[in-house]
Amino acid sequence: MLELRGVSKRFGGVVATDDVTLDVVRGEVHALIGPNGAGKTTLIGQISGVLPTDMGRIVFNGADVTRLTTHARVRAGLARSYQVTSIFRRFSVLDNLALAVQARSGSSFSLWHPLHTEHALFHEAAAIAADIGLAGKMNTVAATLAHGEQRALEVGLALATRPQLVLLDEPMAGMGPQESARMIALIEKMRAQVTVLLVEHDMDAVFRLADRISVLVNGRLIATGAPQAIRADPAVRKAYLGEELAA
């Protein structure tokens, strides 16, 4: 579904991603792990189109999207969430989600017709709010939500675009154990409908959710495989996992 072929990105003299070749298969949860500064977020940025790619090709559903804009990739079914929460803070939860629904349903170059009469948008947004566990907070202004709820909304915004592949950049960042458990349940639920590329530091979550794991170290992909194989891979243990897995 997603094919990266020799994808690279440098910032000045610093190589952020280096010749990454990776396949994400339809229907899987594919985790991307690696130490801080390994280039995971850069790679997500390149796949989503926020960062231009210096070298290599990004192919999505058989079409080369390397030079497409971010919004065009979203239209093609490739959405992302952010590591640092990026929501519409002054909008209510419902308005946040309705906006994302609006982005893919019909033209928004409509200047005259009142938005609030478009019940379909808000019905669908309400259904998504229920999916992400925010049914009771639909009219709450996003800025006033608890951290875990904002993270859920962050993921909800990506889901509301109805992607085929969703890139989740550390969805559990800054979460306590309870909130993490809820996020894991959410990802478990969404995997039936959507392919997931998951960047995450929480190894419990990664090994519970992932069908396959890729390991990025210093911008280079050093291994891809099933969780058990990754756990056993000596290069991975040496470079990254260390005692955390030995235990």
Binding site: H71, A79, F91, L115
Partner: protein
């Protein structure tokens, strides 16, 4: 809605009251204020709703005025031709300037819009055929036929008022439409708006063009107001004045442009025309420095009402 009707009722009765007390000068002042209200409202669309600090709005305002002025001098006084032409030229200018400047952000956007507007200003100042420095005098106001004579100040006032009402209603519809929601979202979080699938640049450009077109309409009216087009309409000080009106009235509010234009222009008029005894005893020539006095009053208002004057009337937001 009730409030809007009340405002327009007062505005509709005002000239009749002035006529009754034989103070037609105020009708002329009021139509000038309403024209500036249209211009400030157009700026408020990009500045307040779009979050785009355009410091070159005088370009569209002045362009609209010059189109009407030049057509009048060239023997095309019909409003049916000249006004749409003014709107179209201003929209086209906004399309060209916006297409380039919207690729920049923040301070760079402010500077590049300012630079474009100043370029247009110098072009018109050096255009001697059409008045150059001295400006362009028109033979008279535009003609509309249908037995309507715009040279009558009362008729003129109502035409301007009707156009202001149309602009405000259009803006109200726009702000509450799908498009308005996207503009709101872009101001709130541009990167995320792009990341949920909106081609952000196109939305900003359309917003800029609509705003420029409305400013062009205001320009067409201001040319008619005194049957005279001054290049100072294009000067950056004019852009600044419109910006002051918006900030004073309320950034991102429907009524901000009207309130700001009314307060600023009425204040300038009051300070210049009415000598206040106790101030004059302290500073006998204070009226020669009306700008300073206006500045002090504005500073006070902005300090006391940081949301703009419209914020003072705002109902608590229903949530």
């Amino acid at each position: 809605m009730k409030r809007a009707l009340l405002v327009f009722l007062v505005l509709a009765i005002f000239p009749l009251a002035m006529q009754a007390i034989d103070a037609m000068f105020y009708v002329s002042l009021a139509s000038r204020i309403l024209i500036y209200a249209i211009a400030a409202t157009s700026l408020n669309l990009v500045l307040g709703y779009g979050g785009l600090v355009s410091f070159g709005h005088a370009a569209f305002f002045g362009a609209g005025a010059f189109v009407v002025g030049i057509l009048a001098v060239e023997g095309v006084p019909s409003a049916w031709i000249a006004w749409p032409a003014a709107v179209a030229v201003a929209a086209l200018a906004a399309l060209v300037i916006g297409a380039m400047s919207l690729r920049t952000r923040g301070v760079y956007f402010i500077m590049i819009t300012l630079a474009f507007a100043q370029m247009i200003y110098y072009i018109f100042v050096s255009l001697k055929t059409y008045g150059g420095d001295d400006g362009l005098s028109m033979p008279g106001r535009s003609t509309v036929g249908l037995g309507v004579n715009l040279r009558n100040d009362l008729v003129w006032y109502y035409v301007v008022l009707a156009l202001l009402a149309a602009v405000l209603y259009g803006m109200h519809r726009l702000v509450h439409s799908r498009f308005g929601r996207v503009i709101d979202a872009i101001r709130e979080n541009e990167a995320r708006a792009e990341a949920i699938g909106f081609p952000v640049y196109r939305y900003k450009l359309l917003c800029f063009v609509i705003s420029g077109a409305v400013a062009g309409l205001a320009g067409a009216l201001i040319a008619n107001q005194g049957s005279y087009v001054s290049p100072s309409l294009l000067h950056w000080i004019q852009s600044g004045t419109l910006m002051i009106m918006v900030i004073l009235g309320g950034v991102g509010t429907l009524w901000g442009g009207l309130i700001g234009a009314t307060v600023l222009l009425a204040l300038e008029h009051l300070i210049a025309d009415y000598r206040i005894g106790w101030i004059a005893s302290l500073a006998p020539n204070y009226q020669d420095h009306a700008g300073l006095a206006v500045g002090i009053v504005l500073l006070t208002i902005v300090m006391l009402a940081p949301q703009g004057l419209a914020g003072l009337f705002a109902r608590p937001k229903e949530k």
